[in-house]
Symmetry: C2
Subunit: 532 residues, 2 copies
């Protein structure tokens, strides 16, 4: 059987017939599906890096209207191809075709590209700052180097290395992308890259603005991540893999934006439980098992008061978890890791209340609830907040608010932290005290809703303190902020108007919002005052 081609240097290139190969696997059956895809060796990786590097200056010089045209065109192509894309992604991931892929994730992906296009058109990501007295002008600008994007397994569209937030952000900042697809959905990634490639050509951008590789071995990955020709790396995936790549990137001075792991602690306060415990159990169950729990923001650690209301919540949750059919996981690897994580949590003292085991056919796992006391949790907090990626959550039972506060102190950096309180204000004081403790430990502090919805919004932070991500100041979701990860700060000092980028010139015909002498304005600069 022929092996599928790679997208390198602006064209779909045959992979060497002798190359190692991979195939997708239907997670619902465990059977291999679809064609052979190439595992890249050194020659492919070097060709991708060299051609991306060669395209970098041309892409950086492209007019923003052309970049925005590409992003919009690609978004439309994704929408137009929705049926085929959803069918491929459903086969490769077993995510619900209609309720998840077609109705939520695909529209989110094209919308994200369109929001990136808008940020390009209005220059919002460049944050122009002008000091007229000193004649200094600065803004965020392209890196003039390729961005390497590692896509995760859990969003075949919205975080796909060839279509997701990192891709949209890096291209919006006018940097070429080397997309490293996740090997669990190669055909989905290929089809997206085909659409992107056609849209690039239609928009008149360099054809080598993106490359697609499906897989390479660990050693090659570390070499690539540490290659000084890269401008930055975007990574969503496991902590161990991410930290190994980050070490290589750090050594070469390459910024790596890594979204690594998070247990997303949720605190249920007594008033909320008394008021709506059964509804909360339902809400928690839905959030924890949606997409088989394979979300970065899955509620993996829920702090529940001891006592009757807490017990009632736990019993309601147990009933829901027990009644749920086993969730299909993305791969054998995900299932094996979840098994290991659950075993480790039990070894450290957690008791299994529901599920806890895998099932067949394919890579299924039962919806899993574990429980541990707050005092026991605090004896081994690091071991007991190990991420169990999948439909699993650890309940931590707290005797009182002091227990809850003590638990916050044992938490590592997380993407999110959530507080549920009573609507009548009865939990307000406890909410305030917990919020204060939780705030520095999470990127997004949430009240009274589950963490799994990550809105694509300018005000979103899908980021957080180490080790949930590699840097606390950046978000992976939300335009224009996500774009600035892939940008360099550029200052112009006494440079003639015609050598400036458009948004820093005296005239501002597009009405770009700029900070001029400390004020946000969108008009032209005043003409210089005549010499006295």
């Amino acid at each position: 059987m022929d092996v599928q081609p790679l997208l390198i240097a602006g064209e779909w290139r045959a992979a060497p017939a002798s190359c190692k190969r991979l195939r997708a696997v239907d997670p619902a059956t465990g059977e291999a599906i679809g064609p052979d895809f190439p595992v890249s060796g050194e020659a492919d990786v070097e060709a991708a890096l060299a051609s991306a590097s060669a395209a970098a200056d041309e892409l950086a010089a492209a007019p923003p209207s052309r970049i925005a045209g590409f992003l919009d065109g690609y978004a439309q192509a994704i929408d137009d191809d929705a049926a085929a894309l959803v069918a491929l992604a459903h086969a490769e991931t077993a995510l619900p075709a209609d309720t998840r892929l077609a109705k939520v994730e695909l529209p989110r992906t094209s919308r994200q590209l369109r929001l990136a296009a808008q940020a390009v058109r209005d220059y919002a990501w460049t944050q122009p700052v002008i000091d007229t007295a000193a004649d200094l002008r600065s803004h965020y600008a392209p890196l003039h180097k390729p961005v390497l994007v590692f896509g995760p397994n859990n969003f075949p569209f919205a975080f796909n290395a060839a279509a997701g937030s990192d891709f949209a952000s890096a291209i919006a900042a006018r940097n070429p992308v080397i997309a490293k697809a996740h090997p669990s959905h190669p055909a989905t990634s290929q089809r997206l890259a085909e659409l992107a490639h056609r849209a690039l050509l239609q928009a008149g951008l360099p054809a080598a603005s993106m490359q697609l590789l499906y897989q390479f071995d660990r050693r090659l990955g570390l070499e690539l991540a540490g290659d000084a020709r890269l401008g930055a790396i975007g990574f969503t995936g496991s902590r161990s893999g991410g930290l190994a790549l980050k070490a290589a990137a750090d050594q070469a001075g390459i910024p790596m934006y890594a979204e690594l792991s998070s247990v997303n602690p949720v605190f249920l306060l007594p008033g909320a439980l008394a008021e709506r415990g059964a509804a909360l159990a339902q809400e928690f169950f839905a959030s924890c098992t949606m997409g088989s729990g394979q979300f970065c923001t899955n509620p993996g650690l829920v702090v529940v008061p001891e006592g009757d209301a807490g017990d009632a919540f736990v019993n309601a949750a147990i009933a829901l978890f027990n009644a749920a059919p086993p969730g299909v996981l993305f791969s054998r690897g995900v299932r094996d890791q979840l098994e290991q994580a659950v075993t480790a949590l039990r070894d450290w003292g957690a008791v299994c209340l529901a599920g806890g085991t895998s099932a067949g056919p394919g890579f299924r796992f039962r919806a899993t609830l574990l429980q541990v006391g707050a005092r026991a949790f605090l004896k081994h907090p690091l071991e007991l907040q190990r991420e169990a990626f999948g439909p699993a959550s650890l309940l931590v039972r707290a005797r009182d608010l002091d227990d809850m506060l003590a638990v916050t102190a044992g938490l590592e950096g997380n993407l999110t932290g959530t507080l549920y309180g009573a609507t009548d204000g009865g939990d307000d004081e406890a909410m305030a005290r917990l919020a204060q403790r939780l705030r520095p430990r999470v990127g997004r502090l949430i009240a009274n809703r589950m963490p799994t919805g990550v809105a694509v919004s300018a005000a979103m932070n899908h980021g957080g303190p180490y080790p949930s991500t590699g840097h606390p100041g950046f978000t992976a979701v939300g335009m224009p902020a996500a774009i600035r990860r892939f940008a360099a700060l550029h200052c112009y000092d006494n440079v003639a108007d015609h050598l400036l980028p458009p948004e820093l010139r005296d005239r501002n015909p597009g009405g770009v919002a700029r900070q001029v002498d400390g004020q946000w304005r969108s008009d032209d600069l005043p003409p210089p005052s005549p010499a006295p």
Copy 2:
């Protein structure tokens, strides 16, 4: 003789009598001056880190008005104490007391603190973003962890770990500072810390908001830089020292903002030389020898056309350099490193046109000009762009524009890059081509002025691509941008108004500029529309 105290845990603490000690040295004579200062061991370092960590939450919760009050109060105390501070700094650094320290650097330092205070008062550094439909609100917020600041030798006030830009930025973001003074000016640092400490107490901020250590050994420094209790590190200094610390910080996931080294290439175009070659020689000489050339933005590499106009420029420069008295360097170490750098540049083929040797008394070095051809430069570009910190510059002679363009391709990341062109527009095309090539390689692109003036401006970028700094997206100078280095992105999702920080609340009585649903505005949020 008694050893001077350390500022730890909010008080001036006696150092152990048995501790290792250091003294300042008058660079003009090489003689030790002033009292003994302690070299800290493990106990001091741990005490500083523990007390700073303990103060972090309280400082983060301090009202911005109190932070701004401290910054303004400290600025005023520095201005009021100018005579004593200048005398100490002059004795310890040999920098000109009046023209540099009193008239330029000290006012710059207090102004920087006042600009930080202003950014705190108007919340400019926090960049509030509100999405009313999704009820998401985000801003930059304190790290809730200490910031470790390493001050350099070359700015006893403006980059002092206890008073400079990193200090002002970290405190403005409401993080405690562990100031590691530069051991070449301990008395200056001590006096600044005394003023800061008094201003902290007067402002009602936690007394442990800053700690002052004078020195510790390399092993302890690496341990401290890799301690996960730190929130971030600010570093200005040598590339080798900075990269060792950065490796330790990277491993622990601690962002380190390192300003490392830069040769600040300057390109003189033929029209500019023909028009004003003699004036340019004077301008270059002044920039290269001011402060004995000990600036991060010293013009260390100047590309000069071959031919008569270029020769005339070089000869004029040689005359100026030869006529200059040897410059006093900060320390024996600086002098030794400059000797080594000049030797290395000569070993790689540069010819010495002026100076090149040290002189006495104290740590003096002759104003030094070296020269190499562009082709020879491009054979060993890395070796020949080694920073020679001090009054030294390497002239690279280019046969034509192609030579100049080729030189840009051999350049590492730099803080600045400068182009000089004719006022009549005769160099415009060459300027444009060089600017395009230079732009991605430098943080600040300059036309027709020397790089040594680093204005404290919101539009400044004192940063640049690796290895001039550790991250291309941040500036060490200029408020409010420099503050954001020491901040975390915080999002609030559906959180009640009274739990929000002031600048994210519905009401906006202070008129803070916020991005609301994509528009910059400074008014209150509209009341939510009534349910239909």
